[in-house]
């Protein structure tokens, strides 16, 4: 105790024996050892220390604190404490200690050297705390965390397996659909080959072509890796190449200006059918009797949605062989209705002009 400390005590009206009473009654276990005695013997403990360790004062006094150590005590931590005591330094450490009855507890303590009036180290004072409960809950928490992590890993593995299964299934279904489209198309073309030239044969061939347009849409849908989107420009490029492969480029030119417009997969088939029907109709019927001409197809998107314009400079609707109540015509009308769009067929003088507006979702 420094002179300053003594002065402060005096001013507060407290005697030095206040400490003996306070420490003795403290619920914190405390111990004092004699630094000058042989092997640092215990010279004082409070009741809380007696309660913590289970030893009586008679059993404690005169002995070194290592009597509390045992098999489970960490030698490294003992060495750290011993070094601090040997060099008279303060230390906080946590030791695995044993009570008189053999039960173990985690003993967290602060040890500090206490000097006499001459400044020499005369005692060591240690205050302790039983950390067993805290350690146990930490352990439990770690166990819980490990268990949670294990559960999350297991769940993740399950989901991964489910995803792989789903992907494999998607590939399988995709493969089957494509193969079946090829079979359907082959079937119709085979029947067409065996049907005499005329209306029936033409009908079979146009059906095979419609299936072809749907096939092109389907092929694009799955090859892009994204099964939910469909790009109208890609489709148009491929589909128009198929269309123009069968016509004389000197007589009929087909121009297309189709923006890259992503639409939902659900719209792919109806849009493909509609574009096929209109473009094929223009190429086949607008230019009878060796007449030459031009077909233009434009598709762009604006605030109103998808705007499609198919125009030719051929003979026009009234002069054309196409019956407005015919199949191709009503197919287009039906598809536009399905897509909740509007369609206008107009005489373009010369030729035919078909304007279609299809609303697109916000997501599109």
């Amino acid at each position: 105790m420094t002179d300053d400390d003594r002065r402060a005590l005096r001013e507060a009206g407290l005697g030095e024996d206040m400490f003996a009473s306070a420490f003795g009654a403290s619920p914190t276990p405390m111990v004092v050892t004699d630094a000058r005695g042989s092997d640092n013997p215990i010279v004082w403990v409070n009741d809380a220390f007696v309660a913590l360790t289970g030893y009586t004062r008679a059993e404690l006094y005169g002995r070194n604190c290592r009597m509390l150590q045992g098999q489970g005590t960490d030698p490294g931590e003992i060495r750290r404490m011993r070094d601090a005591v040997a060099t008279s330094k303060k230390i906080a450490c946590e030791l695995f200690n044993y009570r008189k009855d053999g039960s173990a507890f985690w003993n967290a303590m602060t040890i500090c050297p206490v000097r006499d009036e001459g400044g020499a180290v005369a005692w060591f004072f240690a205050a302790q705390a039983d950390m067993t409960d805290k350690r146990r809950s930490e352990q439990a928490m770690r166990g819980t965390n490990d268990e949670l992590e294990r559960l999350v890993d297991a769940r993740t593995a399950d989901l991964q397996a489910a995803l792989e299964q789903k992907t494999a299934l998607l590939h399988e279904v995709d493969h089957r659909v494509k193969n079946n489209l090829q079979v359907i198309s082959s079937l119709m073309l085979l029947k067409a080959r065996r049907t005499p030239e005329g209306e029936a044969r033409d009908a079979l061939q146009s059906m095979a072509e419609r299936v072809g347009a749907l096939s092109t849409a389907h092929r694009m849908l799955y090859s892009a890796g994204d099964v939910t989107r469909f790009d109208l420009r890609e489709f148009a490029a491929d589909f128009l190449a198929d269309l123009t492969a069968g016509i004389d480029p000197d007589r009929t030119t087909v121009e297309a200006e189709v923006d890259s417009i992503a639409v939902s997969a659900a719209m792919a088939a109806p849009l493909a059918l509609m574009m096929h029907e209109l473009a094929t109709n223009a190429v086949r019927h607008a230019f009878p009797n060796g007449r030459s001409g031009r077909v233009s197809i434009t598709a762009r998107r604006d605030d109103g949605g998808l705007r499609l314009l198919i125009q030719d400079d051929g003979v026009g609707i009234a002069a054309g062989p196409v019956n407005p109540a015919g199949f191709g015509h009503s197919l287009v009308e039906m598809v536009v209705r399905q897509l909740r769009g509007t369609i206008a067929w107009n005489e373009a003088m010369p030729g035919t002009r078909v304007e279609i507006t299809i609303p697109l979702d916000r997501a599109n």
Partner: protein, 142 residues
């Protein structure tokens, strides 16, 4: 519509309707059919006995996904150019098992015609005049 020069073609396809229609289509295009095989053993035997210019090979055959193995065997003969013709291109190995490319099912007549024109040009030692059409994809390194 005829191709110059005509190619001698083996079709390896287990779906009878597809094989038959493809046969007609190839003949319309001016090519010569050397045979149709539905299984891997048939395909390999026909390949050995006919040494076709071109083999069109589906991946899934009567005896399972054996088309890859068929392609490997047939393409070992330098006289034969192999093209896969499948709806299942994900099954094609990275080295394409020796095949030149793949025609995706469902295919159109135009894609089959232009793929074969491409092959004919290559076999004649000419640089093919046009880009490959969308439904026809070349193996890497070609």
């Amino acid at each position: 519509m005829t191709a110059e020069p005509a190619l001698r073609i083996l079709v390896v396809e287990d779906e009878v309707l597809i094989a038959l229609e493809l046969t007609y289509l190839l003949e319309d295009l001016g090519h010569v059919m050397v045979g149709v095989a539905a299984s891997s053993s048939e395909a390999i035997a026909l390949g050995a006995s006919t040494a076709p210019d071109v083999a069109l090979v589906d991946i899934h055959l009567v005896d399972g996904p054996t088309g890859v193995e068929v392609a490997r065997v047939l393409s070992a003969d330098p006289r034969t150019t192999v093209l896969f013709m499948t709806a299942n291109s994900k099954r094609i190995p990275e080295d394409f098992a020796g095949a030149l490319g793949v025609i995706a099912k469902p295919y159109s007549e135009r894609v089959v015609a232009s793929a074969l024109t491409y092959v004919a040009e290559r076999r004649a030692g000419r640089a093919p005049a046009t880009d490959t059409p969308d439904g026809f994809q070349l193996a890497p390194l070609n």
